[in-house]
Amino acid sequence: MNLTLFIWRQKGPDKKGRLEQYEAKNISAEMSFLEMLDVVNEGLIKKGDEPVAFDHDCREGICGMCSQVINGVPHGPQEKTTVCQLHMRNFKDGDSIYIEPLRARAFPVIKDLIVDRSALDRVIQSGGYISVHTGGIPDANAILIPKENAETAMDAAECIGCGACVAACPNGSAMLFTAAKVTHLAMLPQGKIEAARRVCVMTDSMMNEGFGNCSNHYECQAVCPKGIKVQFIAKLNREFIKAAIRRRGGF
């Protein structure tokens, strides 16, 4: 199939960017979306032009590095699918495709389709873990965990940290991302001990990084490649209110 692409080109963080038009010719339906871009880039290099810069690594939908907005939707048209797992059989001959970087206040563009998502790392660094040292741990079966709780924790822990939820949200909120980590750890007995402090520091960090608040648009859930549910945001809010009461007296 032949396609017309409109791709966001931007030299650097402080440079002005714009959409430029490219033709993608003889694209097979078996190709992944990124393989289609590889073909376009090979053509650009041969012509002596600069290829389009985009983030990608595992190309198996798990590392969370790929991050593009395709026709206005982060990760493109297929549900629960990262860009790297999106295949060209989802498009048809003659289609025009708009490809842009994830856009959010907290994600400055570095170049072309590459953005800086280190704000998400800093939200985790603020307290998105269990403060356990290496070594000296009792047997793994010493603390039992109800299967349902372990399953819910796993549902939340599947987040790949790609940032699509932020880009999809009209407020540029990282609530789904933060809620996923808060829920994952709060569901487990090992994580409960620090739950109140965790939800407070992570929420503070989220606000400080320039992420907006949640006003229940649910766009995040719609684009999440791992199907993380907005119910976790409700869990975050509940944890936050419980903690806020405790916080007044100091943890």
């Binding site: 290099i45 032009d49 590392c63 998502r117 790392d121 660094q125 047997d139 603390i143 487990l188």
Partner: protein, 637 residues
């Protein structure tokens, strides 16, 4: 030179404990005076950096990705082994040790593997404490599943995303240390050189991938946790960025490269669909628990698999290896599939594939149970192939997956260059000639959480801290070398893209140094690779400049290293006149086609010393001594 692995004396079960008691310690007040560099933030790197930070050392951690959470360990699906014996099915530390050493076809150190088996249990405890949501039963206890090369169920798992969950656990521990200020993180930064001063590793030169700036970091020790080199085959299950550069450039600075020809070809990957293919996707080996592998009995049978009657199907793993059946180890399963396809009995339009069929499992367990176990894998398969594996069998074919070879290290994980430690897939130490499933995660975490933190203190306690700083002339030289290498890449301005060279190299490697090799094919590869390398330096086209984010240039540097490294692999495979594990030389096989080892002449680790790109490297050997297991023919029948 005869290398010494420095395994401690004494009975096997006591070696590690005894060694721990003998190693020197660094006092808490002194720890913060030592700087340690950790390159790579996968399981080995993140767990090492976090643990060293916790202990109080000053750690600089580097990764080429935008976040330390993206190391390729994250893609490991199936699970992690441990000798907990929770299912009460006869497992023990000795049995895990024995399975692993046998699985590796007796080409690894006894002492290392025994230590790994002991520590496997601590890893599970540690990960549960970090909040890794392993699968559990209704009573709340941890669940296990079976994996290739074992007759017990000892694999712990978190759906089909075990690597992801373990890495996020280590990433959490690392994040905590970053917040504490003990670890400074350098994402989007690539190591380009190891700096060796007076024979000791004292720092690295890196390139900031965003600004293109070169920088030097001095330290008291350097830890490479930079993964494997399967991308030398171009198409592999590795991430696009996975590369040999850090390890290879350390090799060029004097570190020995051990057993580079030991690479694992994983049996269950999605077959290639065309020329455009950029990588191959693995389907977890755990699928072989419930899936049955088969091919048509008749050549050229191109009916749809569901139309091929039972009597005309050849369940070749069950037929050839009745004791292990579909759970035969990876090297054996891969070669069996290749044989079938070479006979012309392959599945799919290309003929390069065999079926992995779940129809029987769905019949007696129900589709829901299968969905619960492997749902995400079936979804992934459908996204890539457009086929529904609940309704028709998957098509699978072997693909390069893991590097058992790597930089040579002793029992302390220290290379022959003092101060250079190598962890995880980047070292050669524990898997011999073939790695068993669910053992890579175990090794990466054992190295990072529980081994290196002890052994590095033994080295540091005997070294004065802050011996050199980045102002040393050796750093300046290293930086100039890295800069001029970059300039050279940009100045060629030829006609072929980096990917074209990579694809060609991959074809040479796959055809001649792949699942099967022989003297002729290896000599051919050793002729073809230098030719391709020469062409690369005359005709490669790398656009853009070095002082900006330039992904083509990053790729070009990595492919340039693969173009040298591929030759080393072929040379190592040529020297090893035997078949063992993933290294199958067609000249050395049993009458029934199984690998024929030569324990008299090749029961050693082959460690290569760099002597210049155009001169051959020098071979050093570390003899392998087996005192606790009997060197037997690996039999899975």
């Amino acid at each position: 030179m005869i290398l010494n692995g420095k395994c401690p004396a004494g009975p096997l079960a006591e070696k590690w404990d005894r060694h721990r008691n003998e190693m020197k310690l660094v006092s808490p007040a002194n720890k913060r005076k030592y700087n340690i560099i950790v390159v790579g933030t996968g399981l080995a790197g993140a767990s090492a950096a976090a643990t060293l930070g916790e202990l109080g050392y000053n750690v600089e951690a580097f990764c080429y990705q935008d976040s330390p959470r993206r190391g390729h360990s994250i893609a490991a699906q199936g699970g992690i082994n441990a000798a907990k014996n929770y299912p009460n099915d006869g497992d023990s530390i000795f049995r895990l040790f024995h399975d692993t050493i046998k699985g590796g076809d007796f080409r690894a150190r006894e002492a290392n593997i025994y230590r790994l088996a002991v520590l496997s249990n601590n890893i599970i405890d540690q990960c549960v404490a970090q909040g890794v949501p392993f699968a559990r039963d209704y009573a709340g206890y941890l669940e296990n599943r079976s994996f290739g090369g074992a007759q017990v169920s000892r694999t712990f798992y978190a759906r089909g995303q075990t690597g992801q969950q373990l890495l996020l656990g280590a990433y959490g521990a690392l994040s905590r240390q970053i917040k504490e200020g003990t670890v400074r993180l350098h994402p989007r930064t690539e190591m380009l050189d190891l700096v060796v001063i007076d024979g000791e590793a004292k720092g690295i030169t890196v390139r900031d991938l965003v600004t293109g700036k070169f920088e030097c970091y001095a330290a008291d020790a350097v830890c490479l946790c930079t993964g494997g080199y399967a991308n030398v085959f171009h198409l592999s299950t590795n991430a696009m960025g996975s590369n040999v550069t850090a390890a290879y450039r350390a090799y060029k600075k004097g570190a020995f490269f051990a057993n580079p020809c030991f690479t694992q070809i994983h049996p269950t990957c999605i077959p290639v669909s065309g020329e455009h293919q950029s990588k191959l996707t693995l389907m977890s080996e755990s699928l072989r628990n419930d899936g049955r592998v088969w091919a048509p009995k008749n050549k050229g049978d191109n009916r749809s698999p569901n139309d091929i009657p039972e009597a005309e199907r050849d369940y070749f793993l069950e037929r050839k290896y009745p004791a292990y059946g579909n759970l035969a180890p990876r090297d054996i399963a891969s070669r069996a599939a290749k044989e079938i396809c070479d006979e012309g009995r392959g599945a799919g339009s290309s003929g390069y594939g065999v079926y992995l069929d779940f129809a029987d499992a769905i019949k007696h367990l129900g589709e829901n149970k299968i969905r619960e176990r492997y749902g995400n894998l079936f979804e992934m398969y459908e996204k890539i192939t457009g086929e529904n594996a609940y309704k028709q069998p998957m098509r699978i074919y072997p693909a390069p997956h893991y590097a058992m070879g790597g930089l040579w290290v002793d029992y302390n994980l220290q290379s022959n260059v003092p101060g250079l430690f190598v962890l995880g897939e980047a070292n050669f130490s524990d898997h011999g000639a073939n790695r068993l499933g669910a053992s890579a995660l175990m090794q990466g975490l054992a190295d990072g959480y529980f081994i290196l933190p002890y052994t590095i203190s033994d080295y540091l306690a005997q070294t004065a801290f802050g011996k050199v700083n980045a102002g040393h002339p050796e750093f300046r030289r290293s930086m100039e070398d890295a800069e001029s290498f970059t300039k050279k890449l940009l100045s060629v301005n030829g006609k072929k893209t980096v990917s074209e060279f990579h694809r060609e190299l991959g074809r040479i490697m796959w055809d001649n140094v792949g699942m099967e090799r022989n003297e002729g094919s290896l000599k051919k590869a050793m002729e073809l690779i230098p030719g391709l390398r020469a062409e690369f330096w005359e005709n490669v086209k790398v656009p853009g400049s070095g002082v900006e984010l330039n992904q083509e240039m990053e790729k070009a540097g990595r492919v340039a290293d693969f173009l040298e490294f591929g030759e080393l692999m072929a040379r190592d495979a040529l020297h090893r006149n035997e078949s063992c594990g993933g290294h199958f030389r067609t000249e050395y096989q049993m009458p029934d086609g199984e690998a024929r080892r030569d324990d008299e002449n090749f029961c050693h680790v082959a460690a290569w010393e760099f002597k210049g790109v155009d001169n051959g490297p020098e071979l050093h050997k570390e003899p392998l001594v087996f005192e606790n297991v009997e060197l037997a023919v690996r039999n899975y029948k």
